[in-house]
Symmetry: C2
Subunit: 185 residues, 2 copies
């Protein structure tokens, strides 16, 4: 299905970028819904170039350091827009190692369980705070036809996801901490 292809085309459709810059995007803001290492990006760019969907100009920094700044071609843009219009079925819920662990958590004693959950909670709250700080840069909903609209709605989605995870963990911690009535009797 080559989603990375369209992720790259979409970014290059916004503005020309080098492989290095793409890799940075895929490891910072974009990482909330898509990511890739440079070891995947450089070969994909080469492929897209062979397919005529992107082209590049070489830029020189200093004396010899070369950077290839890629831009999307007309053909590339057509392909991207076609992909963007595809109406798709909802995908499988994503794999989640922590939930897998929790599925088997009855094999852990309650103290360990709560420790694990609270550890996760702490990390998720931290991420949530970072996201909320980023969101402060948007005093209002951006123009619906600007790039920033997409940035904003996926950021909102990321925040809501983190809030949901924290709420779920709180609920789970609650279940584990309630005194066992049977033990009391």
């Amino acid at each position: 299905m080559r989603t990375l292809k369209y992720a790259i085309l979409g970014l290059l459709n916004r503005k020309p970028m080098t492989g290095y810059e793409l890799a940075k995007e895929f490891n910072y803001e974009l990482a909330e819904f898509w990511y890739a290492n440079h070891s995947q990006i450089y070969p994909e760019l080469k492929k897209l170039n062979n397919e005529g969907l992107v082209e590049f100009d070489v830029e020189i920094s200093g004396d010899i350091l070369e950077a290839k700044r890629y831009h999307i071609t007309e053909e590339g843009k057509d392909d991207f827009i076609k992909w963007l219009h595809k109406d798709v079925k909802i995908s499988k819920t994503p794999k989640d190692k922590f939930r897998l662990r929790m599925y088997f958590s009855n094999e852990l004693d309650l103290t360990t369980r709560v420790q694990m959950m609270e550890n996760q909670r702490l990390q998720h709250v931290k991420r949530l705070n970072t996201l909320m700080k980023t969101c402060e840069q948007y005093p209002e909903v951006p123009e619906r036809d600007s790039d920033r609209f997409g940035d904003f709605i996926v950021l909102r989605g990321a925040i809501m996801r983190q809030e949901m995870i924290v709420a779920w963990l709180d609920e789970c911690i609650g279940y584990c901490k309630v005194p066992d009535l049977k033990e009391k009797e």
Copy 2:
């Protein structure tokens, strides 16, 4: 990291199962947080068997149809419990093709955008309803040391995830539907 290995060991630790049954699990209830096709499961079972972590007995249905019922070994259980105790960092947020599309949604006209979002919403509400129906089977929180506790908390997590997605989509649809003030003036 071989997570499938531990997913299988965890299930076999609950009760002996055949590859076919494991595949079914990984495509129904478990699919809310982990999944695999039989083409991944059969080779993994063979590998686990070679490693001495699982063993099997052959069962015959009818005249000749053979099924291998796998059970976990002591060594397998040790390995599984060790994995279960590992305290892990939160993982990268999962990839999400729909969010990727929405990130680029400024390239779509508002009508198409809203259509896509409402289509997704409909499907997510449907899944949410299914999950809530399943949840009705739990009149109360199951015993914390029973298998069903794990079943229950991940089910709760799945419900909360679906609710979050629907809420996010509602928010996005709202942004797209609000009349553009500038157009009015």
